[in-house]
């Protein structure tokens, strides 16, 4: 091969193979979502990741779904899905759903009440390890009254009864009832699921790609885009570059430097939205080596308050995110229905921590300026997850700010599983933790509630325990009046903030990158993919080759 022909081949390859403008007849478009995470598992009872949730909610419909105002209390905020209507029993301990008669599984079988029962049974099977199991403990049972009627019985009345029912996705009993206990994960169904949602699974290469195709005769109407594909790049830089190069259309969470870089790509539209994740530095209330004993330093509220005062969170957030994060106000995000932006945080103060620590006997100093008491340095070990670049950087900034207050913070950075094991075992003084929230506030029971109540405190790594906080959360959730619920939960927020259970660090404001050829409906911050069926190609914008109507299903 001559040098000239080699050069010609190299230049021709992109033309032969790369993404090009549309030449065939325009379809309804193909949305390629670039992501770093594989969606697996993506069945509603077993999904664990955000990507898994996205795929499961495109493949399967719930009975009802929370509406755009994201109010999880009562029933006003919910919209019908597989259930066309519902009515409450006189004592409010049961709700009866009437299924949409047009609803079908992707194999053509009608959706029945029996499928709702199967949905709960799969969640309740411990061998399936369903993360939803803890969220539906208030459901006593589900009964198939007849083929089209399912009744959900609750143990007790609460503000979020309908929200609980919305977490139970009907699953096809005709395909799953014969499975052995715990057999869902290894079943053929898990690899080729038959759903009830607006998209069906067309193709899947684990950790590489997943393609969904529109269900033409869906009971809610034919969804917009013909296909939705996930392309998985384990390295986020590669995944984002695919959006810049028009190889993909969506990247959900752009890091701040890439938000600036996006201006160089005119086809990219930036979509900022309210986040649902928050990050905090939780104090360990128990001794790291003996969880039965109180922490020698951090059990003292004065020390926790002093450490909180010593942190300039505004400066820290600016250094990490520029303007793309809010200071966190408590264990909630601003997008939640119960958010209280009037809460006054413990303020940054350069003098107060010194006074407090002096009064507690930490008066000596090492040559490095670390405080001493009885010859022992004021040293804390911080558990930090290595995969979270933001938290690693935050830990370094916190380390420096606490050093100025005379506190030696030793950063113990660990990979995800080692971090999880140490966190769950309470092996730390402080932990750089994070939670992904939902519209519901029931998560407070396990994340910050004490273990004194059955089923509470399971994820409360720092073992914060406040009977007042627990009571307020319990009262709030038990009330049937949304206003009372909100007030009680807000009161609980004030208690935990005053207790300085953690340093409430930041609440990122995510920015998504989306190709401009799509006309977008209002972006749903808690689950943006729920509006994917209503995305449309902009007739004014040039379509891409992949937008041509697919030739094969």
């Amino acid at each position: 091969m001559t040098r000239r022909s080699l050069r010609a081949l190299l230049l021709a390859l992109p033309l032969l193979t790369a993404c090009d403008r549309l030449r065939g007849p325009a379809g309804a478009g193909t949305v390629i979502v670039s992501t770093a995470a594989d969606p697996d598992p993506f069945l509603p009872p077993t999904r664990t990741s955000v990507t898994g949730r996205m795929v499961s909610e495109l493949l399967f419909d719930p009975l009802v779904e929370i509406g755009a105002d994201l109010n999880p209390f009562g029933e006003a905020g919910f919209v019908p899905r597989l259930a066309a209507s519902w009515r409450w029993s006189p004592d409010s301990l049961a709700v009866t759903f009437t299924l949409d008669p047009k609803a079908r599984w992707h194999d053509g079988t009608s959706v029945t009440a029996r499928d709702v029962v199967t949905g709960l049974a799969l969640i309740r099977d411990p061998a399936n390890g369903s993360p939803v199991a803890g969220e539906v403990v208030d459901i006593d049972s589900i009964v198939a009254v007849d083929a089209r009627t399912a009744r959900v019985h609750f143990h007790e009345r609460s503000a979020e009864q309908l929200y609980s029912a919305s977490l139970v996705y009907p699953m096809p009993s005709h395909l799953l009832d014969s499975l052995p206990a715990g057999g869902l994960a290894t079943s053929a169904f898990a690899q080729r699921p038959v759903g009830s949602g607006p998209y069906r699974l067309v193709e899947r290469e684990p950790k590489v790609r997943l393609v969904l195709g529109a269900v033409e005769d869906h009971y809610r109407g034919r969804p917009g885009p013909d296909r939705i594909a996930l392309t998985i790049s384990p390295d986020p830089a590669t995944g984002i570059a695919k959006v810049w190069a028009e190889e993909a259309d969506v990247w959900e969470l752009l890091p701040p430097p890439d938000v600036t870089a996006a201006t160089a790509y005119p086809q990219v539209r930036l979509v900022p939205y309210n986040g649902w994740d928050y990050t905090f530095v939780a104090f360990n209330f128990r001794a790291p080596n003996d969880t039965a004993a109180a922490h020698p330093l951090l059990a003292d509220p004065a020390v926790r308050v002093a450490l909180t005062q010593a942190l300039d969170r505004t400066g820290l957030i600016r250094a990490l995110f520029d303007s793309l994060a809010h200071p966190l106000l408590g264990p909630f995000v601003r997008a939640q229905f119960t958010a209280d932006t009037t809460i006054a945080p413990i303020p940054f103060d350069t003098l107060a921590p010194a006074r407090t620590l002096d009064s507690l006997g930490w008066t000596g100093r090492t040559r490095d300026g670390i405080r001493l008491r009885d010859g022992r340095p004021l040293r804390l070990r911080a558990l930090v997850p290595a995969p979270s670049a933001n938290r690693v950087r935050a830990a370094v900034l916190v380390q420096e700010q606490w050093r100025r207050a005379g506190v030696d913070l030793v950063i113990d950075k660990r990979e995800a599983q080692a971090f999880g094991a140490a966190r769950d075992g309470g092996d730390f003084d402080v932990v750089f933790g994070g939670w992904g929230t939902t519209p519901s506030v029931r998560g407070l029971r396990s994340t910050w509630g004490s273990g004194a109540r059955a089923g509470w405190g399971r994820q409360n790594s720092g073992r914060y325990a406040s009977a007042i906080f627990d009571s307020l959360v319990a009262d709030g959730l038990a009330s049937a009046d949304p206003v009372v619920t909100r007030d009680r939960i807000r009161a609980a927020y004030r208690v935990i903030v005053a207790d300085a259970a953690a340093v409430w660090l930041y609440e990122p404001m995510p920015v998504a990158a989306v190709h401009r050829r799509f006309l977008l409906p209002t972006w749903r911050p808690e689950a943006w993919w729920r509006t994917l069926p209503s995305w449309r190609l902009d007739p004014e914008a040039p379509a891409l080759a992949r937008d041509a109507r697919p030739t094969a299903p």
């Binding site: 032969l16 411990p126 061998a127 290469e205 190889e247 599983q417 998560g443 080759a545």
Partner: protein, 320 residues
Amino acid sequence: MRRALLARLGHGAIVIALVVSACFTLIRLAPGDPFFRDLDAARLTTAQREAQRAAFGYDRPIPEQFVRYVGQVASGELGWSHSRSQPVADALAATLPATLLLITVATLLAFGIGVPLGAWMGWHAEHPLARAVDRVAVIVLAVPDYLLALLAVMGPALAWGLFPIGGMRTEFGPRGLGGLLDVVHHLALPALALALPVAATAARLQCAAMRATRDHAFVRTARAKGGDDRLARRHALRAALVPVLSFAGVHLAVAVSGVVVIERIFAWPGMGRLLFEGVLARDYPLVAGGVLVASIGTVLGTLLADLALRWADPRQQALR
């Protein structure tokens, strides 16, 4: 010869058994298990975790699990991959061809470029161009492989648009011949990124060996016989190939680890990425199966390199 070969295969089997046993045990001793969720996801309850561990036999003592695993492997069963929700054999079958393609092309490129270039550099050691190429090779070797790969993504792929960003094929791209070209197009950058450091090493090794060989008596004899310079060079090259062929054997083992970085950055759907993600996910059966296949490949690769070495160097009458 046959006896030596059989002995070598026997040693290889022992090495494979040791490597797989060590990986089988070590990953189970590491914190966590296959049922760990995302960093900030809701955790399993104790009852759920115990039920899941029991369902896959991870609640049994490690020696018992190992005996059961050996029995499974003997019957051709590699287990279930938790992180990919598919049988391990299917996961390996889906990813092994992509890795073999990448390593084969990268190896051919590396030695196809490195050996002739190094031989030329060694034969013309005083040539200014030879010295310049040597400096370039040192620079290539000094750049970490992940940085080289990232530069390839950001430059030729993103900034110049000459190559795709990642993956093995264009989503909803062409089929048939166009599809084949598409794979070649996607393969180019990862193969080059994997090949360049190896080519630089091979060139420098070949250069040094050629310089040492060109003044040997047998090369002078070849010249004295009246043959042209090309004949002498051919004689010298065969002898000078010995260190490069030794390196080639080692390279096969190193390539398996090098491919992890390249596959991750270029989103290449190969076995290196599979193993890396399997370790992070504590996917016990996947890691054991992957290590088994990788170690078999490495043992066979080094055996092939030894055979080539024997061909190149007649002094080696028996396999070492």
